[in-house]
Symmetry: C2
Subunit: 429 residues, 2 copies
């Protein structure tokens, strides 16, 4: 303990003052009309484009440093901004302006026997801390989603993108003042020192929610260190289960899409489960097709009996998020065995069944415990905008507050509102 406080003081970053300013800004944000917030979002989009030169200059410094530190090319690519990427950022902000304003929505109102009208109203959470890794577009996305939902935000991006994020954050914060919202509505933490994260996670009187976005290590450190509620986007070990009697052509399309279309994302399939009754008809052809797409297959003993020449899947495989063109396959004797496998190894992100049986489809929907449960569709659809919610802040694998894709409404909470005309309580009645 102690050490990080001194380091932080030396870095000149007064995080507590930033958080206090964010909390003060939150009151103006919470009161702002949808119109004003949309004007701010359009001003933010315009500022990103108008200021592309300083942003790209700051980004070039980050990219040069990352290259000289020998980061892998994929990392440097994610870090690199271009005019088209800035245009996508601006487009994202304008799309958030088009979404309905969740704040002030009254989600229900009922009358009590004593005449009280009781209802629930959506209000912002307050101040949100977002801790993320390299991609600088998160800075604009998170700032836009928090602003639209009436929350102030403190953004803490990756060390390697610090110059880029600081430039984007400064430009966005200045732009919201043009519509009369406080500059402290959004702020980027201006130091790479990790001590800042430690301090941030202790400011539970000033920050209402921490959202970590990044690898397992980041999520774990945030969960363990935080005295503030955390909504984490954890890993995605997603399954597709091909049921007995399923249409095998449909199953092949869905499973192929779930594995191959974009293997590096959390909603891609990592394990295929196949009912023994259809395994012989399904697996040899499907594995051959996967092979043509460059997918490495690992299988259980029954899979390997049907498809010779593939590697055995180990116990570790069943829990691994490959994020790559690798697939583990297991043949199950029953629907129940598939459910049990998913309950044991699934990470709670997304799970799918391909089936023609209505009863098992309904049981799968009800009984599988995941943020998104699919019948006869690819887990790849697990995404706020694919679900029609607009841009997403992440995908929660937790159960509290938000489960599955988190959109604007998940950045609000509901309070009770009560309208009376003089009612008092007599607790003896």
């Amino acid at each position: 303990m102690g050490g990080w406080r001194e380091r932080l003081a030396m870095s000149g970053c007064d995080l507590r003052a930033m958080a206090r300013a964010a909390r003060a800004a939150n009151q103006a944000l919470a009161r702002a009309t949808g119109e004003k917030k949309n004007a701010a979002l359009r001003a933010m989009a315009k500022a990103i484009l108008d200021s592309h030169e300083p942003i790209l200059a700051a980004n070039a410094e980050d990219v040069a440093a990352a290259t000289s530190e020998a980061h892998p090319p994929a990392f440097v690519d994610r870090l690199t901004l271009t005019v088209p990427r800035l245009e996508a950022m601006a487009r994202g902000l304008r799309q958030i302006a088009e979404l309905p304003d969740p704040v002030g929505e009254i989600t229900g109102m009922w009358r009590r026997p004593n005449g009280l009208q009781v209802g629930r109203m959506r209000v912002p959470l307050g101040v949100i801390g977002v801790i993320y890794e390299s991609r600088p577009n998160v800075t604009a996305d998170a700032a836009g989603l928090c602003l639209k939902s009436g929350n102030a935000v403190i953004l803490r991006g990756g060390r390697e993108a610090l110059r880029t994020n600081t430039a984007i954050g400064g430009i966005l914060a200045a732009s919201v003042t043009s519509v009369g919202l406080p500059e402290a509505s959004l702020a980027v933490v201006p130091t790479p020192d990790r001590a800042v994260v430690k301090e941030m996670l202790q400011l539970h009187h000033l920050i209402d929610l921490i959202i970590p976005r990044g690898g397992e290590e980041l999520i774990r450190a945030v969960r363990e260190g935080s005295t503030i509620p955390v909504i984490a986007h954890d890993k995605g070990v997603c399954h597709t289960y091909v049921d007995a009697g399923a249409d095998l052509a449909t199953a092949a399309e869905i499973a192929y899409n779930a594995k191959v279309e974009r293997p590096g994302v959390c909603n891609a399939m990592e394990t295929l489960l196949v009912h023994a009754e259809v395994a012989a008809a399904f697996l040899p052809g499907f594995v051959e097709r996967l092979g043509r797409a460059g997918v490495e297959v690992r299988g259980c003993a029954k899979t390997r009996a049907l498809v010779p020449g593939i590697r055995p899947a180990t116990e570790e495989d069943w829990g691994t998020e490959y994020l790559d063109l690798v697939l583990s396959i297991r043949v199950v004797e029953s629907f129940e065995e598939a459910l049990a496998h998913i309950a044991r190894h699934g990470s709670g992100l997304a799970e799918a069944i391909v089936t023609a049986d209505h009863g098992r489809a309904m049981r799968f929907l009800r009984e599988v415990d995941a943020g998104a449960v699919f019948v006869n569709a690819s887990t790849r659809f697990t995404d706020g905008s694919e679900f029609g919610m607009g841009a997403e802040m992440g995908i929660s694998t937790q159960k509290l507050h938000a489960r599955g894709p988190m959109g604007l409404t998940e950045l609000t909470c509901q309070k009770f509102i009560v309208l009376g005309d003089g009612q008092v309580r007599d607790s003896r009645t």
Copy 2:
């Protein structure tokens, strides 16, 4: 560290095994129909009455021990069970059986352009840990609410009620097996050792939510020690604001009720704010009435100028939950000053305005940040059953997941369900 693990092992309580059994039970509970759960609740109610002798015998031992330890009479009274109190417990369980089943409710379903049907379904949270203080009725209430919402529960009551809680828990757990639900659906931790609480708060792979109910010290310890999400019922520093132009007779009834009807509860008023324009007309008569009810009043300088002879309110008073016949009063110059006072000193439980002005009523509803915001009614109504939600698990002063009274739906979460007919994703479009 370390020490509590050994103590726990010596106490013979294998909390991890209890939590694993609860997690296994949760699967059967999550699948149970509303009918089966209601039958279990009625069996629980019957068992409480049928077994009143062993429960009262265990309780007599707890009461004797508490008396010999010189606990205050109010404490001993809360601990003491009688046949009428057991009948109230049984009635509470039967009332939970009458409530609608939240599990499986589909709260919305919409169709996407590609034909996918996307919706949200309520499902249980899983395993809930409830940590509470002396009153043994919480054992039955919490067991009933968790069972109805499809959650398994581990109950950890106060040391002084251990024999009573263990007796009630054993009887309730046995009774649910009569309808075919697992005995591990509910369990009382059978040791007074505080090490159990420490271990419980670390079992984030087995327990999904911790609900502490009790004093500030308990809540703080749970918040700080838990790696599991916590929904706490914190203190209630509730205000009533009498606006300029308010009907003063109505204001007096509401404020009197909020302070006097039951001063020892969290939704009672602790501070009265009065607009300067009506202070002279309102305060002298109202304070006199409070005096007749035995209320000690503490006031700001302006209050004391209008009502001589009362104690000055200190800065500390504004943040104090008296839970007693004590009231602090402050005269404010404006609506904004009242809002600012509440924002600074309120605890987020319940706040009320008495006003005749529609605009200020609406601003108060929107801008005051609390679990329940009242216009022209007493804060004493802040209660799940007064709000029409049935029995409550507590009142959350947090923002995440639940804010205000927590009923059955707050013990569930919503997952996304997606029905397709073969859809696959093309992320290039």
